[in-house]
């Protein structure tokens, strides 16, 4: 009775969330007719959808049962199966939260598009379908429904990427994105096909049941790794990501980077840990290596960017890398049958997915705010926002702290868990692994510090200092909705950082349902100390550290207050910054984004494909008297030249070669038919 009701509850919530998303898409069809109401048409249902989705996620992650349904859609012999289990619940929750935040952010943000040339209807419909598609992906329980939802997600997001289609660059990146998405989808389809043993029954239950010989299962795994990796953006398949994510409207970028990548991760987890079952440690090693490379590569390139959204996109690649590292560790430990250790890795991966969704969306929304306020994406022209928009600056700071994995914020918890998992390497008998894992962990540490450097750079250049361009010097604080959206996400970053034990207890329902085990954290007052393995081995108390920070802030407050009205402390005086006595220190003399990352560029030079240009036009024969000196530096992703351009060239060559068939001469065509006939006759005799 009671069970039934809870079961019913989650079912209704899920149903509502999907339907409201679709309703948003449908209502938006009329957006262009009621321009004034267009934003409401889209965002009110979306808001509801977000709420319902996150509520549904919560219900199941707090222990209520999920459900399985069949819809009368799809193939006659393969109706759509939907299944809502803890794993789906987590990711549906993620989708819900971010959708919720985005629907707070959106109305104020899209207002400027109302005056523009681009259609509201397109944006609305595509957004609604995009969200609905993602929700269906995590719900789907058979290959057919999964593929449909997956491609719905891809196509909708493609249309959003191509939304501002007047710029040729946007069109190009949209094309690249859709092409990669298509190839990825094909690989995924293949993976499912192989897994099903080329069987006609493609429901996930059948896939779970299927037993594969080891070569075939390896093939299936490889296909899935690259198929989902294509979407998740693992190196070297990441190339579309920094092209596509930035060009979409910012709240869409938040959805793509924050959520869609997670959906890809979901697919990978679902495939590897649920459908394929008992992963071998060799696959784990592959995932681990790919993950480490992806993470390092992503953060290094993020450091080199000066387009804010591009930078964020590259940092998404980095975080995906981190998640894959965790997954790799988990698979290694499961494969060498230390399930209780693999569990930590899996939980860390899930945790980091949640965290990255939170802070990356937060950061993208922050970037969106800047763009909306001063139409500027280039770091080199920003500066001093902290003086003009304090709240945005505060929220963005929280985002930066979280993504740089600093205690007591959420990024740190997941990365700490990953390191803890790695630290259990001695438990493995295989010496190679015991060496490999620490090195991977070291790369992870390098990554996280580089990430910190990267976001010091972002925050320091964009928000601190003084505005480098005229139009960023007089920006105003963003509207209420935008602040609310960022506030919600920032708050969640704090909460999930300070109370890891609660979140982990929620996550362990997932491991329960996938592996059949859950994390045992044996301390009194578990909420205070996070001790994944055992209290002796490692412990971390986020609340206490948070308390420490708060005390420090309090101290400052006290001193600040006292210094106001205590005669003994002399009052503060303001002077110009020290200018070595030359005078006339101005904003253009600040350290620039390029110069900030120069040392790292120097050190990791071979990894980059750098084009420097120095324009120095001066009076003839007196170099010192320069009229103007301009310096530009472009860092191009090296995989273009290594991989992508050659493939393109090759396709074109083959196409040209083939097109010679169509000579235009009738006699040649007749000759073709003649010889075809001869060949066939010869074949049959």
């Amino acid at each position: 009775m009671n069970i039934d009701q809870t079961h019913l509850l989650s079912e209704i919530l899920v149903l509502l969330s999907v339907c409201t998303a679709l309703i948003a898409a449908f209502l938006s069809l009329f957006a262009d007719y009621f321009v004034k109401a267009s934003r409401l048409l889209l965002f009110i249902p979306l808001f509801a959808s977000g709420l319902f989705a996150s509520a549904a996620g919560l219900t199941v992650l707090s222990g209520m049962p999920g459900f399985v349904v069949e819809l009368p859609l799809g193939l006659p012999w393969l109706p759509w199966h939907l299944r809502f289990d803890p794993l789906s619940a987590l990711f549906l929750g993620i989708i819900g939260i971010i959708t919720f935040a985005v629907s707070l952010f959106g109305p104020a943000y899209v207002r400027e598009y109302e005056r523009g040339v681009y259609s509201q209807t397109v944006m609305g419909v595509a957004t609604g379908l995009f969200v609905a598609g993602m929700q269906l992906v995590v719900l789907a329980d058979d290959t057919y429904a999964f593929m449909i939802a997956w491609e719905l997600m891809s196509v909708a997001s493609y249309i959003l990427v191509a939304y501002e289609h007047r710029e040729a660059a946007n069109r190009r990146s949209a094309f690249l994105y859709l092409l990669m998405a298509q190839i990825g989808a094909i690989m995924i389809l293949m993976a499912f096909g192989v897994l099903s043993g080329f069987n006609i029954d493609l429901s996930f239950d059948a896939l779970r049941a299927s037993e594969l010989s080891s070569p075939w299962s390896t093939i299936a795994f490889t296909l899935a790794l690259f198929g989902f990796g294509m979407k998740a953006g693992i190196v070297p398949l990441h190339i579309w990501l920094p092209e596509a994510h930035p060009v979409a409207p910012s709240h869409i970028s938040a959805l793509m980077s924050g959520v869609m990548l997670k959906v890809a991760v979901y697919g990978f987890i679902r495939f590897t840990f649920d459908l394929l079952g008992d992963p071998s440690w060799r696959w784990g090693v592959a995932v681990l290596i790919i993950g480490s490379i992806t993470a390092l590569y992503g953060v290094l390139y993020a450091l080199m960017q000066h387009d804010l959204k591009r930078l964020l996109a590259y940092s998404s690649i980095e975080n995906i890398g981190i998640i894959y590292v965790a997954l790799g560790l988990a698979m290694i430990f499961f494969g060498t049958d230390h399930p209780h250790l693999g569990l930590i890795g899996l939980i860390a991966a899930l945790y980091h997915s949640l965290n990255h969704a939170l802070f990356k969306s937060l950061l993208f929304l922050g970037a969106g705010t800047i763009i909306q306020r001063c139409h500027e994406r280039d770091l080199e022209r920003m500066g001093g926002f902290i003086h003009h928009m304090p709240w945005t600056s505060l929220f963005f700071l929280i985002g930066c702290l979280s993504i740089s994995s600093l205690p007591p914020f959420n990024g740190f918890v997941s990365e700490w868990l990953i390191l803890q998992t790695a630290l259990q390497a001695p438990a493995i008998s295989n010496g190679i692994l015991r060496t490999l894992i620490p090195i991977a962990a070291a790369m992870l540490a390098l990554t996280s510090v580089l990430a910190a450097a990267c976001f010091v750079r972002v925050y320091g250049i964009a928000f601190l200092g003084q505005g480098r361009a005229k139009r960023v010097r007089h920006v105003r604080e963003a509207q209420r909705g935008i602040l609310a959206a960022q506030g919600v996400l920032a708050g969640l970053c704090m909460i999930s950082g300070v109370f890891p034990t609660t979140i982990i207890s929620g996550l362990s329902y997932i491991t329960e349902s996938l592996i059949g085990q859950s994390l045992i954290s044996t301390t009194r007052n578990g909420w205070l100390w996070l001790t994944p393995v055992s209290p002796e081995v490692a412990s971390y108390s986020a609340p206490l550290i948070c308390l420490g920070i708060i005390l420090a802030l309090l101290a400052w407050g006290v001193v600040y207050f006292v210094s106001r009205n205590d005669w003994r402390l002399k009052s503060i005086i303001r002077k110009d910054a020290w200018d070595c006595g030359f005078g006339s220190l101005n904003a253009r003399m600040q350290y620039s984004a390029i110069s900030f990352s120069m040392p790292i560029r120097q050190i990791f030079q071979p990894l980059f494909n750098i084009k420097e240009e120095l324009v120095n036009d001066h009076e003839e024969n007196q170099v010192s008297k320069a009229k103007q000196i301009r310096y530009g530096l472009h860092v191009k992703d090296m995989f273009w030249d290594i991989f992508y351009l050659p493939v393109e060239r090759w396709v074109n060559v083959v196409a040209r070669w083939v097109s010679r068939l169509q000579t235009g001469h009738l006699r040649h065509y007749l000759a073709y038919s003649f010889f075809t006939l001869l060949v066939l006759l010869w074949l049959i005799t």
Binding site: E151, R171, L189, Y672, L680
Partner: protein, 492 residues
Amino acid sequence: MIALTWTLLIPVAGMLLLALLSSPKVSGWLNLFVSILSFLSSCWLAKKVLKAGSFGGDQFYIDTFNVYLIVLTTFVGMTTAIFSRPYMQHEIEIARLTITRLKLYHASYQAFLFTMLLALSTNNLGVLWVALEGATLATVLLVSLYRTPESIEAAWKYFILCGVGIAQALFGTILLYLAAAKVIPDDGQALLWSVLHGRAAELEPAVMVIAYVFLLVGYGTKVGLVPLHNWLPDAHSEGPTPISAVLSGLLLNVALYAIVRVKMLTDAALMSGTDYNPQLAGHLMMGFGVISFTVAALFLHRQRDIKRLYSYSSIEHMGLMTFAFGIGGPLATFGALLHMMVHSLTKSAIFMTVGHASQIAGTQKMDHIRGLIETQPAVGWGLLIGTLAIAGFPPFGVFTSEFLLLTATMQSWPWLTIPLLLGLALAFAGLFRHLQPMVFGARPELQSAVYVNSLPMMIHLFLVLWLGLSIPSFLANWFDAATQLITGKALL
């Protein structure tokens, strides 16, 4: 039988009327009216067949397989007629056509439909041949309707190539008759498919193989299998757009239908013999299919002319269907039947939008077609969505059928999925690299919206979408019955 008579007679009557009638406005409406009538009668026919099962005298034979194609033919014929009325109106207005040619156009349009229906409904393989030749003759003058040098050239090539192809088919038919004459004494019966199918096992394999090769090459020319496809892009690109729509949507299907019928006989004959691989017929089709699919996908990349682009995509899809029928087996056949339908619908919808697009730009050169979405959203989005559908994106029906085909391929020939998937990716890239600049971007100067009746396009795309989301059970059973007819095994 009455339903059948109506279905066949209505187009003939329409042809005669339209040949006499000379007012362009009225003839457009009349054309539409006639097409609607024949669609209704074909539905009636389908209803009878689905209720009573296959029937027919000795000259005509209707079963679930060909009645399905009959309905499809009349349906696409109808929607294309809806589309063609304003389109041809516009052509008259910009004086690309004269009234007399319009008369010719309408008459041959109905004549073409008639030959299609005849080819589908006849029981006599000889008549089937005659009807297909008649289809060539009916359309060749339409291809050269504009009398431009290019159109003349295209028509000439179309005429000679299909003529030669059809001649080869006739030789095949004669050999078939030769083989049959030994088994079936009454030479009036000897070419009747229903009779042959009954006693196919007794036909002499050696003769049947040679006959099959000739028929395959002959009708394959009409299907547009590489390397016999050369007429296809020319004819599609130079003729008026409604004709491209029906050529792609119908003629190719019917030619493939003929091949499948013959394959059924050949398979049965080869089963009986020992000195031939019983799968030979299927393997030949698969070979043609894969080659056509991949080569056409590569061709897509270097197109300049929008209609050529999509005609190559037609070749690609026909290749896919041929491949699927070649695999045989219930799943593949089911997928192939579904693919016939969704491809006809999608491709004719695309050709409709393409027609309007080229009217907007005043040319078929893709370099001049730009910013459709801004110039005329209906056309732009129609083209974009249609192309997404034809490229096999869910939730459109093409995805469904391709999904089935891939599954079937994985079951029987796992390693053949690789070229297929490669071809899919290539084809997608080839289509979109041309499509994006056309639909997106700012609206060019001097280009303005034209009068568009986007109803048929929307109907088609909606149907395709519906098929992608769920196949209605009656249709599924229909396909299943056809599948059982072709392969002998039911899928469901």
